[in-house]
Symmetry: C2
Subunit: 294 residues, 2 copies
């Protein structure tokens, strides 16, 4: 099975490439830049170049589409860029997939739901995103599912929990906390720290992509979310237990998505997916990893 | 009050310019082309050119944003174009409005709701669009309301009923039926004709834009929909009563949006909007209009 992975030079795309390889798939990465890794082919290109994308996708059975403006701060600062890459770029994926006869597995996000009407939030819960990042991710998801319905492009959207693992962006809360704590600097929790997240390990997300790539499921969105709810305060505590430093509380960040408890039950039924890495294990891996603190 | 109207060369944009003028506003049109009309200034430009758009918007108090890929068939054929113009273009409107300090009134659509969970459908009903046209219109709406929340750009989205009036596209069901009937050709209803639409007259939509431009309302979406539900069969009957010809029934069109009864009650409360043209009156105007039948 030949799989094209967009966003392969990014944190999550890189993990997904690795998991697909472990699953025995033949992987091509597609990104604006190469990483130099030698275990996959790397194709340099832009999601906004439909013809280049179509060429890259030809002879592939599946496109795992992770490439996006995935940095919520960048999406807020340059919403027009998020709109182009996340909506038009994803529409290009649908068209390229139709042209080459590929199946699409798409990285959507649990944040599409907005404030919960009921919990746990399942896939039939209304969607109400309110930030350029999650608005454009949902629009991309809908464009793919419309291509499934209107043009017969088999597509599955995976609504991912907040991903964590080795190689995260340095502006992620994990890396900010760990790097500060190693240097003995105080950690500042924005808000009261009671807001929780179902942090989902990148390798578990990778397995969900592998399962969805091989499955017959289509025209559906599935939550891929670890059942553990971890608060930001608990995250800070795990960091300072390993690297003792002070913790203080600051102003809440405007526009932060309120937590809601999201159910991964349907993904378990449809794909047989279950998370394998609990937070304690994933956190230990992160805390012990070597880091260049610049 | 200086108002920039995007999409001013189109059917609905043209009507809205006229209504705003009647309301005493100072109107600039913004479109890819001029129409030659002399009652407004016409600025030629592209929604995808952010700097050109910002220049056009400077010194305007309000942007009425109607410019879009509004033809559902074109949006289905070229979804990437719908994504660019309707999502990135609308995000450019939000940025331009922030730069020049303008308020935005946006043409959204009743089609954002998808299949009804309850009726009448009010603005708190879940949204579930499934076609490149309504998916991208909803994403544009959300990007504007996010700019209201995150960047303080006052924005109102008007979820419009199916607009009709003089000057509609020749591929609209109104113009197809009327033109065929005038030539004595048979009319074909796709499906059983029982599907209804709350056809809303373009002049009533124009008044909603005028009211929203002058109002203090912001951060909200409002249904601007006539209460009359008219079936396609009734529409055909109105046409053949004036221009007798045969009516037959064909295959339903795939992807057609199922009807749902949409309430305009909130727009009445918030804006004081009420439709003024009933279907019989609007239809008579259309049937008696001179037409170049090519």
């Amino acid at each position: 099975m030949r799989v094209l992975v967009t966003g392969s030079a990014g944190f999550l795309g890189g993990h997904i490439c690795r998991t697909l390889l472990e699953d025995g798939m033949d992987v091509t990465g597609f990104d604006l830049q190469t990483t130099g890794r030698t275990d996959i082919r790397e194709d340099v290109g832009d999601l906004l170049d439909l013809d280049g994308l179509t060429n890259a996708a030809s002879d592939h059975d599946v496109i795992c589409h992770i490439g996006a403006i995935g940095d919520v701060y960048l999406a807020a600062e340059q919403p027009q860029l998020a709109a182009s890459v996340n909506v038009t770029g994803t529409t290009h994926i649908a068209i390229a997939a139709e042209r080459v006869g590929a199946r699409v597995v798409y990285a959507s996000t649990w944040e599409v739901y907005g404030d919960p009407h009921y919990e746990p939030v399942d896939e039939t819960h209304p969607t109400n995103p309110d930030h350029p990042y999650n608005i454009t991710k949902l629009a991309g998801e809908r464009m793919l599912l419309a291509a499934d319905k209107l043009h017969g492009v088999p597509a599955v959207a995976l609504r991912l929990g907040t991903a964590y693992g080795l190689g995260m962006r340095t502006n992620s809360v994990f890396e900010i906390f760990i790097r500060k704590a190693i240097k003995g600097e105080p950690l500042t929790i924005q808000g009261d720290g009671a807001q929780g997240r179902q942090f989902t390990h990148a390798s578990d997300i990778g397995r969900a992509f592998a399962l969805a790539a091989r499955s017959e499921a289509r025209g559906v969105a599935l939550n891929i979310v670890s059942p553990e709810m971890v608060t930001i305060k608990q995250l800070a505590e795990a960091v300072v237990e390993r690297f003792p430093t002070e913790v203080s509380f600051g102003e809440p960040r405007p526009g932060d998505v309120a937590p809601s408890y999201v159910s991964g039950a349907r993904a378990s039924e449809v794909l047989g997916w279950k998370p394998g890495v609990d937070f304690e294990t994933g956190m230990r891996e992160l805390l012990e990893a070597p880091r260049d603190l610049g």
